[in-house]
Symmetry: C2
Subunit: 365 residues, 2 copies
């Protein structure tokens, strides 16, 4: 258990958060209003989130890929556990983000929806929002840094989205996105800080439990906290007390570890790590609260452990997974979490990475 930063029993945390829970507003209207303004301070109750997860599961069926669950006897032998890998790298757009984007946008009232959506992201959320908008036949604007990598730009444009660049020296991207949303009547789709995003992301773990049965341990990457929030909710609902849920961050960007330890949201400087999907400087009020309620522990791994885990899934399992995507696997393989004799679920969150970079990492490792 060494290496994990526990924070007490989650049931107690949930009890302690009654204050926040009581502030929750009723589901759909609140969600839509939140999205329209980008303000998402209302935190639903556990029951409301359970209902949203159930609704999300119905919404994503037949739209998102029901991604395969991969196993490896070599990995089982290495870890002494039975490991089930949920392959969200094989999700549409190459990452779990499509689940949340589809769920949130498809729930918008028709009048809002047809005006279009806007998001700020240079990564997987951008492609997820762009594809969702194309499938729904509505406009999408993506705010990206002018230095965004060519392939991500091309993929997002390929889905038909309008790209608006921001200069990292100029206006903040959140502010720019909020201004454009206001001017054009677009709904801002936040990357993680929204109950419908969280519920959508939780559908991956729900599928894993449905297919693989209850787990003793679930390992999930943590960036802004949307995926772990939804995954831990699903674990509580489908596995109960049996399943220990552990979130994993890159060591250089362990703001969630720090936040859980401090009992408040800690904001850090933009972290230097190859796990570009986990370079977020802070959790949101919603994801912080969801993690306090449903996650048992947080831990972090150095980039070298990410490269080692990537090499394993690339070479032995023939799966292209990005650095952020192997956070959970790296925690398992490097022994940061104790898994011997357990049934372990691991979410491989995405596979969008430039091959040239990976070749360099492997050569240098």
């Amino acid at each position: 258990m060494s290496g994990e930063e526990g924070h007490g029993h989650r049931r107690q945390s949930a009890a302690a958060s009654d204050e926040a829970t009581r502030r929750a507003a009723p589901g759909e209207a609140a969600g839509a209003a939140d999205a329209a303004t980008g303000i998402t301070s209302l935190i639903p109750t556990d029951d409301e989130m359970a209902a949203r997860l159930a609704d999300a599961r119905r919404r994503v069926a037949g739209i998102v890929h029901r991604t395969p669950v991969a196993t490896s006897r070599t990995l089982d032998a290495l870890t002494g556990a039975r490991v089930l890998l949920k392959c969200e790298n094989l999700q549409r757009t190459g990452a779990f983000k499509f689940r949340g984007a589809w769920n949130a946008i498809s729930r918008l009232p028709p009048a809002l929806r047809k005006r279009g959506v806007i998001a700020y992201s240079s990564g997987n959320h951008a492609q997820a929002v762009a594809l969702t908008a194309r499938l729904l036949g509505i406009p999408a604007v993506i705010v990206m840094p002018s230095a965004a990598p060519g392939p991500k730009l091309a993929a997002t444009r390929g889905y038909g989205a309008e790209i608006v660049f921001y200069d990292t020296a100029g206006e903040e991207r959140e502010a720019l996105a909020a201004r454009l949303a206001q001017e054009r009547g677009l709904t801002l789709v936040p990357p993680f800080d929204h109950p419908d995003i969280v519920a959508g992301q939780g559908t991956a773990a729900a599928e894993l439990f449905e297919e693989g049965g209850p787990m003793d341990l679930l390992l999930v990457p943590v960036g802004g906290g949307g995926l772990i929030s939804g995954s831990a909710l699903a674990a509580d609902l489908m596995c109960g007390e049996r399943c220990r849920v552990v979130g994993v961050e890159p060591a250089a960007g362990d703001d969630a570890c720090q936040s859980l330890a401090a009992g408040r949201i800690v904001r850090i400087a933009p972290p230097q790590t190859i796990a570009d999907g986990a370079r977020t400087p802070a959790l949101s009020p919603l994801t912080f609260e969801m993690i306090r309620r449903h996650v048992d522990a947080m831990t972090s791994v150095p980039d070298a452990a990410l490269i080692e885990a990537m090499r394993f899934v690339w070479e032995r399992m023939k799966l292209i997974v990005e650095p952020t995507g192997v956070l959970g696997l790296a925690a398992l393989m490097s022994g940061r979490v104790e898994a011997r004799g357990k049934r372990v679920g691991v979410v491989l969150s995405g596979g969008n990475v430039e091959l040239e970079k990976v070749a360099g990492w492997f050569a240098g490792a």
Copy 2:
């Protein structure tokens, strides 16, 4: 249909091959005797092969991975077809070869089996035989060129096999393997020229039809012809006349195309192609006959088309597939076969490739 080298109707070919068919010996004993001597000139009837495929399906269940069937709406849009990719790159040992090796070796009578097996291969067949032997707790000897790549050597050793090197300038590897088999009482497991190998390889396509329903077109890589023989047999049995079966070779190693056109087995010089699993110089009597009976057409693709198809599955589908593995997909994507409006099955046969080479190919393409 341009680009394909047809060879008449397969039913007629089957009729024309009655001579060969009548030479067939009864199943199990013949198979074992063949394997013991490495001589496999007896060609079973269609009914016998159908029974062997059914037996193989029972034998591989629970041992080989039931690999996922991947789809991509982008690929469907590009080709105008509904494309189902059978992911044998995700098979144990990283290639379909484990199916045939397991099937053939597990069928050996106990007395032969416990003495052990031998194979000559520097590629996927080596690992398949080595893993099978380890699972059955029997000795395995693999004859490899002294210049075999380090990772393949390590993987084969990792499965506990004894490696015997041969010098490409010295004794022929087939002769060396036959001599060792004789001296040590080992059973030679041929890479493709055996009914049990063919039947085992056919289980992949059988799973594809079972999961995805009947296809209009099936595209399969062709090296020595074991995979296409088994796949085409499964297609005939499970899809009937509806399914057109097309084998695909690298343009530089199109001996099967030439053989079908000539009506006899044509042997070529060792071909120069990145598709290292299809560098075989000739079909065997068994695979030539199986292809004549069950395959509708052969075609070939240049290495540049392989690189383009690899780039698609790596970048867009997050799957690591080796050059030989994308032969069928490359024929589809480059328009060598007409697929518009059809349900198309494609066997992605393996994923064992060195990352550094792929980075170079992509950079140069």
